[in-house]
Structure formats: C-alpha cells, structure tokens
Amino acid sequence: MKKILLSLTALLPLLVLSGCNMVVFEPQGPVARSITDLINWSLIWMLLVVVVVFGLFGYIVWKYRERPENKDYEPPEEHGSTLLEIIWTGIPILIVIALTIPTVKTLYALEEAPKGYEEKEPITIHVTSADWKWIFSYPEQGIETVNYVNIPEDTPVLFKMTSASTMQSFWVPALGGQKYTMPKMETEMYLVADNPGSYDGQNTNFNGRGYADMKFEVLAQTDEKFNEWLADVKETAPKLTESEYDDLLKPTHMGRLTFSNTHLEWVNHADPHSKAYTNPELYRGHGYQGKTFEEEDNYKSNQPNVMENHGQGGHDESEDNHGGDHNEH
C-alpha cells in the first residue's frame, strides 16, 4: 500500500504544479531527493485534508444557507456528538503518525553520508561565511576559494561550517537542505551531486545590508576535471596572507577569488576560543550612532590567536582608516 502511494508521489509534483519547475522538486542529488520524497509524501496527506475540509465546508454552507424558503426553519438544539468528535480527533492523530515516521527517519539519515555512498571516501570542505561572502577551504588539498566551490560528482562532500560574522545559513536547494553557520561553532552537512553541473547556493539567514547578494556557485565536476582544476589552482593561484584575510572579512561584496593555501593555517572560526574579527566601525551608516564597546578579543586586540603556534595578531595596524566615516549618509 505504502509503495503504491509512494509511487503516486512521484506524479504529484507533475500533477499539482504542472508547468512550473521548482528547484525543490527537481533534486540533483540523493540528499535533496530524500527531502523531496518526504515533501511529496506530506503533500498527498495535506491534499487529502484540503479536499475533505473544503468539500465539507462547501457542502454545509451551500445546504444550510439562509434562503427565503427556510426563513421559518429553527435550527435544532445540538451540543455535540462524542462519536464524531472521537473520529475527528483520531484521524488527525493517524495522519500525524504517518508524517512523523518518515520525518524522523529522514532527520537521522541526513546526519550521515547518504545511503549508497557510505563506501566512498568523503571529501571535507570547510565553509566560512562572512559579510557578505562565502569562503571555502579544502584542508586536504590545501586550497581556498571565495564565492564558488568545486566538488567532484557522485562523491559525498562533508561541509564543516562556521561563520566569521553573524548567524548565516548555507543553502544549495538543488543538492540538499540548509544549515546555519555560527561564529565559534561548527555545524556539519553532507551533500552529493549526481551529475556535473552548476547549482546556485545562497545565504538564507538575514545578515544586514549585503544579504540579498550573498550567493555562491556549486560546480560539480567529473573526477578528472576536478583533479585538473585542483592541480591548476595549486600551480597558479596566489597565497592568501593574514592581512589580506583581514580585508576579506570586512563587510564587502566581491567576485570570486582562489588561493593555494587556506586561512585555517591561522584561524578556524569554529574554535570557541578563536579571535572575533568584529569591527563595529565598519558597520556605521544609517541614523544616529550609538556607543560601541572595545572587546578583548575583537579586531583591535593584540591577543594571539589560540590556534597553535601562531603568536602574533598583527591586525591592528590597518585600522586607522576605519574611524567613523559615519556622517556620510
């Protein structure tokens, strides 16, 4: 029975939403597909609820509406019906159970590498969201990209995510769901792409002026192409320096960048004791400006990073040009 219903679900998006192609209904990988299956399963039940309630509603309103003929009809005294009330408590309970089971299963499944890919060695990519850009570090390969990420097809990719600024959300709808990136914390997510292709990714958690344009591209490639790209980057891309990195974290928009090393060498923002790079002066703008506070561990501090063997902050010398240009509206 469940199988029949499930196969019906495949037809649903076609039936209900014929004509529009929506990214959530066109999954391009096993992770996204498992969520789409769940959504389709829920759509069946929800459609059932809608049909029943709308039908009942239409019937009752039509049949019992006031008309000239029934002006003298006096409705009966009626206080309820235990049987009916049990029925319409029971059926929703059953529907909720029918939805809960696959939901819980999917929730647990999404925490691990997708089924059928357990064998394949996953590659790990660190995601650091900053205002208003995405930084991708490949620690195993020793390279870093900004605002785009290349991955090999059919390989589980483990994204280890954190933020260098506010709470943001990493979302590639064609490949899977989303998860928050948060400063001094790490969240993880697996994604797999079935086929080579370009997929849109973006931040969904509002983070100020540059939010709407905080997008990136996921480019899935064949193993061969991917390795070619890696070698090419290693050879030709420049090295990222700490002071360049400080600039990178300032609230700006930028195009794509590629480096042949990673910032993880000196800071991992997921580390709860890592330095905060916050600098309120850069966010001054609209309206009356309030007092800001000097922090022990933010941009002005000379404290060493807690990351091992990196003893020197060196972030304070470039700060004199930040001083309050906030009168400029």
Partner: protein, 669 residues
C-alpha cells in the same frame, strides 16, 4: 579621514544631522505629513473646544469600553502604517533589480512591518475587542483593575509611538522582527535603531503583561451569578487562556529584551560574538516567547469566530467541551514547540524529531476546532452577513495556512523551506485569516454594541471580497516562489532567477488588498455619517449577555446583574422570556471607579524616559525615570474610592433605551 571633513552639526553634543533622518524623499514627505497632521489635530481640537471633552471622556477614562475603543483606533492606525510598509515592500520586489528602495531601507521596512503588525496591530486590536466585550459577556460592570487597565493601554500606546517615530528620528531597527543576535548587537548594528526595538517593545510588553493579569483576575472573580467556567462563552474562554499564555510567555521576552538592552547599552556579553556571548540563547529566548505569542493572537481570534459562527447559524457551538479542551491543549503545546523556528541550527536529529512531533501535534486540537465549527453550521440557518463572511472565508484560508504549517513542522522538510518565501506565505496565511479576518468579523459583529449603529453591510461586502481576493493573490504566489528558491528578507532578485512573473502577480494582489482596506475605512466614514441610529440593542438576535443591555452600552453596563443558568444565556432568556424585564425595585445604587490622570501620565513619562534611553543619554533618562517613581508613589497614596450612581440616574438611563418601563424592547431587528 572623510569624517573630519563632512559637516558635523553638534549642539549640546547631539548630532542633529544624525538625529533627524534626512536625505530620503519618502521620509521627508512623512516628516512633513506628521508635523502637518499634528498641527491640524491640535488646531481642530482647539477650534471645536474639545480639549476638556477629550481629557475627561477619553484620556483619563478607566471605562473598559472606552479603553477598548482606544485600543481599536490605535490598532487601525497601526494597520495602516504596517500595511504601507507591506505595500512598499511589494512595490520594491514587483520587478527584478528595482531601485525604488535600497537594501537598508527595505531592511528597516520589513523589520518595522513585522513588529508593528504583530505587536501594535494584532495585539491591540484583539485586546481592544477583549476589553469591550469580556466584562459584558461575563455580566460584569468593569474589569477587575480598571486603573491598571488604563495604564496597560497607555504603556502600549507609549511603546507604539516610540517605535513609530524611529523612522523619522534616529533610524529604525533593521535586524528583522526576530532581531537575531549577533546581527542585532552593537558589533554589527552600531546605530541606535535596534535600541528602539529593545526599549519600545519593553514598554509595550509591560502593558501587555498587566492586561494578562487583569483579565485572568477579571474572568476568575467577576463572572456574574451562575456562570460557571463551563458556561462561559467561547470568546471568554479563549481570552482567559490567552491571558494565561501572556503571563507565562511575556516575562521571557521582558528578560530577553533586558539582556539585549544591557548588551547594546552597557557592553555586556549575553549574545555577542566576542567576550564569550551566546547568540543561540537569544534565538531560544525569543521563540520561547515568540511562538506562544502567535497563539496569544490566534486564540482570541478563534473565540471571535466561535461567537460569530454560532450566532449567525442560530445554533449553539458544536462540541463546546472539546473546544475548551482543544484550546487548553493548544496553549500547552504552544509552549513546547519553539525549536521549530530553527531546526537548521544543528541541534541534532533527536531534538528536531521531538519538536517536529510536538509541532505536528498542534494540528490535532486545531483540526478538532475546525470540524466543530463546520458542524456548528450544519443543520443551522446560515445568515451570510458581513461578519459571517469573514468567519466563512477564514475556514478555507486557514486550512491552507494550517497544512503548510504541518509541512513546515516536519523538521527534515523544513531544511528546504526555512527562511524562504514559502515560510512568509505560510505565516501570512495563518495570521491574516487567523487574526485579521477575526478582528474584521469581530468589528462588524460588535460595532453596533459599541456605537449604536451598524457598519454598512453592502460596503462591507466590497471590503470583504477585495480584501480576501487580494490576500490570496498576494500570498499564494509566494509559496511557489519559496519552493523555487526565493529567500525572505531579500530586497531584490536577479532577472535570471525567473521569479519576476510571480512577484509581479503578488504585487498586483497587494494593491487589491489595499483597496479592500481603503473600502473598510470608507465604510467606517460612511456609517458614522449616514448609518441608521435607530436600531435594536440586539440586531443579530445573538446569544450572549453583552446583547442584553443597551447599545451603545451605558457606562455601568448592567442596571441589574444577571443570573446565568446555561450556555448562551441571553438566547435562552429570550426563548423563555425570563429576566428581560427590569423592575423598579431591583434598581440599586452602583459603585463605579473614578477617572484618573495617572495612567496617561505614566505613559508619557515612560515614553520620555524610553526615548532618552534609546539615544543612550543615560543621565537624562535616569532623571526622567524619577518621574516614574513619583507616579508610583502618588498612586500608593491615592485613596479615591470612586463614586456612586444614584437610583434616579439609573432609572432615567434605563428608561431611555427600554422604551417602556417594565418591558424590554423588541429584540428582533
């Protein structure tokens, strides 16, 4: 270095060029409009010599009905403001890469829209109706603490005004109505905009908390003889449970806002990135209040629909007991679902599973209510008046909001819906049918009780159809936009995204919606000018006690306190022709509370102190706060015992509306 060159206008160390928001024609227009409106209002009142009337009859009143009306008037104004915000957003996103609003502006607008709609429109509208109706429904002469009630109103009003001036003075909050940290902290938002959020909502929130306490006591202690808990009208029940939810949830928000204020004003580290703060704590505290808040506005709305559906179907509510238990169930569950707002925070599958289940479970009591409403109408004689139309439209629209809510509740699926326009469409499908339709239904229904004339039914139908069609056209496309990857709170999108046609459709819908609102305003105007004043005090042939007294209700509500024997007491009194007559011998002196200037004084002082605090002028704020303590002290030595209404006066007032002495006037309109 640029800063040194730009002109700094500092007098008394206030930077005036930052103080007034300048450089935007929209805002300049609003500033001019505000000043002109204020001058106009002052001049008008002076010309008509209405200052004294305004002061004695309204500003210092402790009468629950007048306080209720003031709440409703404020709410309609706030609806206008919030609706303008909504229209501006829809205009900005009507086409890809529009340059109508810049991102800062858009951010401020959706933030103020969300806050104003929920806290300064939905809440006061419902609290206003509660104020007008609840004491009447339970056969009482006022709420338990009339002066506290006035204080609640003035604190709400003060908070609302403080919040609203932010867009012309100082800058509006711009971190979303959820005001998530770290974004809302000084590290990322050094402007004072978000101080307005922290302080104004605190002031209004204190007022709401007092309302909650007031209504719990009122409903527990002031019900008329014979009205046991299980004989209370459904609107009274929902108000009671909502008040409990207010008392349970608002202190959480009070604390969260206080911590936010410390972080922003005094440099503490509760939610910051640096200094060991914990941003997730804010999200948890916010939604621990925020989710119950949604039910705080939804439950009274359910109560209104129950009254309206039962009255216009001419049947008592189907499954009264299961209705009561489902309200209690919803209220309990609403306290344990808050994590569904951030499944994507990575709390792990066990936590997400738990909260998916509790959230979906809310659908069960909600479904029960839905079927009870449907079966209340079955075998009835459904009179499709304006009020009933809103209740009817509520059913299908809210079902769409409900089923999409269940879809969002499924943690794993939410990974695809979260923070998209699918979510925005969902909560508008819950809040607009669930709250806005309800207050419209309530307004059309109780308007004659409040003012002694009806709103025009024909114009009411225009209002209804434009609004409901506009609403669906506006928000239905957003479901599909969300499923196609359009995120919320984005001020623009690219042409390549393919979102343009649906965004355009949605923008057109919002114009129809706005036309509906305009017709509503016109209806109020038309009815004030032309509506028939000679109507029955029970024009709908209704069922509960508020309809057993005059319209508009005399200030003491009831000459004689009624005795209740069953549900729908007034219906049965009419059927049995019992207790409708008032005999001379039954008239006794009535004790009523006196007016007081203290509540409005407290509102003003709170507003001033709050304003100074927002600008971080701490010493001035502390000085103003002395005024708050002065008010408290004065109140402690206030021995005013109220006054007594003389028998003669009661006699005169009752005779005027009962037509002939000793006999009640024709109740069937």
């Amino acid at each position: 270095m640029k800063a040194k060159i730009t002109m700094e206008v500092t007098i008394m160390s206030i930077k005036w060029d930052e103080f007034f928001i300048t450089g935007d024609p929209l805002i300049l227009g609003s500033q001019i409009a505000i000043v002109l409106t204020m001058i106009g209002a002052v001049a008008g009142i002076t010309y008509l010599k209405k200052w004294k009337y305004l002061w004695t009859e309204w500003l210092t009143t402790v009468d629950h009905k007048k306080i209720g009306m003031m709440y409703i008037i404020s709410a309609v104004l706030m609806f206008f403001r919030g609706g303008m915000d909504g229209l501006l957003m829809k205009a900005q996103t009507a086409q890809p890469e529009m340059g109508f609003l810049d991102s800062q502006h858009y951010n401020e607008i959706f933030t103020t829209h969300g806050v104003i709609m929920i806290l300064f429109m939905a809440m006061p509208f419902l609290i206003g109706l509660m104020n007008v109706v609840i004491p009447l429904q339970i056969g009482a002469r006022d709420v338990a603490f009339p002066q506290l009630n006035a204080l609640s109103f003035w604190l709400f009003f003060s908070g609302a005004m403080l919040f609203n001036i932010s867009f012309v003075i100082g800058g509006s909050p711009d971190a979303g109505w959820t005001s998530y940290f770290p974004l809302a902290g000084k590290e990322f938002s050094p402007g004072i905009g978000n101080n307005f959020y922290a302080v104004a909502l605190q002031i209004a929130g204190i007022g709401t908390l007092m309302t909650g306490i007031n209504f719990i006591v009122t409903i527990l202690k002031m019900r008329t003889k014979g009205m046991t808990l299980m004989k209370m009208p459904m609107f009274t029940w929902t108000t009671f449970v909502t008040s409990i939810l207010i008392v349970a949830a608002f202190p959480i928000f009070t604390v969260a806002l206080a911590l936010m204020t410390f972080d922003r004003l005094y440099g503490t580290h509760f939610f910051t990135v640096s200094g060991g703060g914990m941003d997730m704590l804010w999200a948890n505290l916010f939604w621990l209040w925020g989710h119950p808040e949604v039910y705080i506005v939804a439950l009274p709305a359910f109560g209104i629909f129950s009254e309206v559906i039962s009255t216009f179907s001419r049947k008592s509510l189907f499954g009264y007991k299961s209705m009561v238990f489902s309200i209690l169930g919803i209220a309990l569950l609403s306290m344990v679902v808050w994590v569904h707002h951030f499944y994507t925070m990575g709390s792990g599958p066990a936590v997400n599973s738990f909260f998916s289940i509790t959230t979906m479970a809310i659908a069960i009591p909600t479904g029960v209510k839905m079927f009870n409403w449907l079966f209340t109408m079955r075998k009835g004689r459904i009179k499709i008046s304006s009020a009933m139309l809103w209740a009817l439209a509520f059913v299908p629209c809210f079902v769409i909001g409900g089923v999409t809510g269940v879809m969002l509740a499924m943690g794993a699926a939410d990974y695809q819906y979260h923070n998209t326009l699918f979510l925005v469409a969902h909560f508008h499908y819950v809040l607009i049918p669930g709250v806005v339709f309800a207050v419209f239904a309530g307004l059309y229904y109780w308007w004659p009780k409040m003012f002694g004339f009806m709103l025009n039914e024909k114009i009411g139908k225009w209002h209804f159809w434009l609004f409901v069609i506009g609403f669906n056209v506006t928000f239905m496309p957003m479901f599909f936009l969300g499923l196609n990857g359009a995120v919320r709170r984005a001020y623009t999108y690219s042409a390549e995204s393919g979102f343009a046609p649906l965004f355009m459709l949605s923008a057109i819908g919002s114009i129809i919606l706005a036309a509906g609102f305009a017709v509503f305003c016109y209806n109020i105007y038309w009815s004030i000018r032309y509506a028939d004043r000679n109507i029955s005090s029970d024009p709908w042939d209704a069922r509960t006690l508020e309809w057993s007294t005059a319209s508009p209700v005399q200030f003491y509500n009831f000459a004689k306190l009624q005795e209740v024997k069953s549900l729908d007491p007034f219906w049965h009194m009419k059927k049995k022709n019992e207790g409708l007559t008032l005999y001379d011998s039954e008239i006794e002196e009535i004790h009523m509370p006196s007016n007081s200037w203290l509540p409005i004084y407290m509102g003003v002082i709170f507003g001033i102190a709050g304003f100074l605090l927002v600008f971080e002028w701490h010493i001035a704020a502390a000085l103003a706060a002395i005024g708050i303590f002065a008010g408290l002290i004065i109140r402690s030595f206030d021995y005013n015992e109220g006054f007594h209404v003389k028998k003669d006066e009661i006699h005169r007032i009752e005779n005027a509306w009962r037509k002939t002495e000793g006999e009640v006037h024709d109740h069937v309109s």
